[in-house]
């Protein structure tokens, strides 16, 4: 394997958790809900996932528990913003803080326990294609799942009737309610989907990316996923581009460090965050007066009778 191939492979693994989490949040925001707690749901997925995987010895169960943990936490958020019409920004922050704390409590007994990561799945024949084969068809199951998710979310939002209703709820919840659509039930399902995706992304962090538990191991990826959704203008395929762009930056930064670029390592480590800011600015500049996201995004909904 050449160095170039190795770099591409690591970029794919670095981008996958960002992509999965961003896709979940994209659907939530399309339904008109801003859930800032992605970081919290992601890290609770990471902690619950590795805890379950170590206790039961099964990676599959670990992934399942991670998804359920993310969904459980998002349910708390849903109760607050849908049931009690609470401020979504504050509720999302609460979720992030709670998730970070809970993950520490759950993960504490598993600090330092090593386990083998989830292996790669080779697709017969296709993985033998020179160069492209190993890159595209010799990946772990999460990578395939993330690509399937992109296509699935795209199809759901643009081609299916349910997706159309979900977008209607996000654009104008009062009108959707007047038409008889169950606004809060639709939003609840979207929030649960977002929680499940964040949990899955967390499972990727603790079961594949770095197959052990360290406190705070998501390192702001949940927040970057939120930025990717804005960058993507709420479109699934652009979210994929965004996630791979950020993943590439993180990896190239690491390679620059090991190649001995004459800059302090902290400056290079700060690059992904600085570039996130830069990208947010550029995208907003390019979009002046254009789409600004779903119209009902972040507005609490209280049905009138």
């Amino acid at each position: 394997m050449t160095l170039f191939e190795a770099i591409i492979l690591t970029i794919i693994t670095a981008s996958t958790p960002l992509l999965i989490a961003a896709l979940g949040e994209l659907v939530v925001e399309r339904a008109g809900v801003l859930n800032l707690g992605v970081e919290g749901m992601m890290i609770i997925g990471a902690a619950a996932g590795i805890a379950a995987a170590i206790t039961t010895g099964s990676s599959t169960l670990g992934v399942l528990v991670a998804v359920l943990a993310g969904m459980a936490l998002s349910l708390v958020f849903a109760a607050l913003v849908l049931g009690l019409a609470a401020n979504q920004v504050a509720a999302g922050l609460a979720l992030a803080i709670l998730g970070l704390g809970l993950s520490g409590v759950i993960g504490a007994p598993f600090v330092g326990v090593q386990r083998a990561g989830i292996g790669k799945i080779e697709i017969p024949w296709l993985s033998d294609i020179p160069f492209l084969g190993p890159l595209l068809f010799r990946q772990d199951p999460f990578v395939y799942a993330s690509v399937a998710l992109v296509i699935g979310v795209w199809w759901f939002l643009t081609k299916s009737r349910a997706g159309l209703v979900l977008r209607a709820v996000g654009e104008n919840h009062a009108a959707a309610h007047a038409l008889g659509y169950p606004v809060r039930r639709i939003r609840l399902l979207a929030i649960l989907f977002g929680g499940g995706c964040a949990g899955l992304a967390g499972a990727y962090m603790s079961l594949v990316y770095t197959p052990f538990w360290t406190s705070g191991m998501t390192g702001g990826r949940g927040w970057i996923a939120l930025a990717i959704v804005v960058f993507a203008s709420w479109l699934p395929f652009r979210a994929m581009v965004g996630a791979y762009l950020f993943g590439a930056l993180t990896i190239l930064q690491l390679h620059a460090q090991s190649a001995g670029v004459p800059l302090p390592s902290q400056f290079l480590a700060a690059l992904p965050y600085l570039i996130t800011i830069l990208v947010l600015v550029l995208i907003m500049r390019a979009r002046r007066g254009g789409v600004a996201g779903p119209a009902s995004l972040g507005v609490p909904f209280v049905p009138d009778r």
Partner: protein, 357 residues
């Protein structure tokens, strides 16, 4: 039967006072459940958490020392949140203030300077915090970039910058390669209020600022403007208040207070610069701001309560071997309950019989 929510036209004042207390009570109940699940005696754990810190002078001083940065930051954040401007990067502004103020202490290290040194440090720290907060404010007003994300990303940048400085140019030459700066000279540290503790003049400074902000928010045109923009943005526009200027103002106010908190922490409690200078004060202060109902005096009481959980959490870790993160769980739960109880203020819940629904 159906449960419906109706918007209240007026909120009874008694509810406004009771709602945070209900939230605290619900948090205590959840805490007892969590301790029991972790296999500890809930009563003993609760008393370690919430009563022991208040039982002696040392504990009380520690609570005041912890409450100082929390309340200072929260008062600034409350101003922002009142205007519905979401600065969540106070942690970064705190660190930036600590770095800038600490820089003055480091370059004057080893030479006698006189009594002007400390005021200069505090001023520089506050200004640095304000400047750091200006970045997300300008990005929002000039380009429309989401201030939640930009201010948060800058926290990571500030953390890495501090890490670089104390490992590189500002490292203590006599510190055996440990990542920290020199220990500040006596005149660059805050005077203690009494012997045998860590209580310093930072706490009275904080209390003075709380009262200043009470007057600013309640009695001045600026305070009215800030509240109006948050509560009725259209009316504020008709009144001729500039949203752009307001965003910049509230960001700089909260940045300055966070920066001041940072330099007070560096010069008062820690007396040097090191990477672990803040146990997440900037994020915890978000909880303090909401628990204090975005009101300066409320923030003071909320800050004291959260400070007790910090000290209690450290005690519980040593005495009951509870994980330190249990404190963060409690703080997160508290914010949840506060937000849930706030809905009681805005809405009335009514049960309707079948036919009427």
């Amino acid at each position: 039967m159906k449960l419906v929510m109706e918007r209240r036209t007026e909120t009874p004042i008694s509810l406004m006072l009771i709602s945070p207390l209900i939230a605290v009570a619900l948090t205590l109940i959840s805490a007892a459940i969590m301790f029991a699940l972790l296999g500890k005696d809930p009563v003993a754990a609760l008393s370690t958490y919430f009563l022991d810190p208040l039982s002696d002078s040392w504990g009380l001083q520690e609570v005041a020392v912890k409450a100082t940065p929390l309340v200072l930051i929260a008062v600034g954040l409350a101003v922002c949140y009142r205007a519905k401007v979401w600065n969540i990067g106070a942690e970064g502004q705190f660190l930036f203030g600590a770095m800038a103020g600490g820089y003055i202490a480091i370059i004057t290290h080893g030479s006698t300077q006189g009594p002007w040194l400390l005021p200069v440090m505090l001023l520089v720290g506050a200004m640095a915090g304000a400047c750091f907060a200006l970045i997300p404010a300008l990005l929002r007003t000039r380009f429309g970039a989401n201030e939640i994300l930009t201010s948060l990303m800058l926290v990571y940048v500030a953390e890495l910058l501090l890490d670089y400085l104390v490992r590189g140019p500002w490292r203590d030459p006599a510190g055996f390669n440990m990542p920290h700066s020199v220990v500040f000279e006596a005149e660059a540290t805050l005077p203690l209020l009494m012997a045998g503790g860590r209580l310093n003049i930072g706490t009275p400074i904080m209390i003075a600022i709380v009262f200043a902000f009470m007057l600013l928010m309640g009695r001045t045109l600026k305070g009215f403007e800030i509240r109006l923009v948050g509560e009725a943005p259209r009316a504020a526009r008709f009144a001729g208040f500039s949203e752009t200027r307001l965003i910049i103002t509230v960001f700089m106010i909260s940045g300055a207070l966070a920066g001041l908190a940072g330099v007070l922490e560096a010069a008062g409690t820690i007396k040097q610069l090191q990477p672990g200078i803040s146990p997440g004060y900037g994020f915890t202060a978000i909880i303090v701001a909401f628990l204090g109902r975005l009101n300066p005096i409320g923030c003071l009481f909320a800050g004291i309560f959260i400070a007790i959980t910090f000290i209690g959490g450290e005690n519980a870790q040593i005495m009951l071997r509870l994980p330190l993160d249990a404190t963060r769980v409690l703080q997160g739960l508290l914010l949840f309950f506060v937000l849930a109880c706030d809905s009681l203020l805005l809405y009335r819940f009514r049960l309707l019989r079948g036919a009427a629904a």
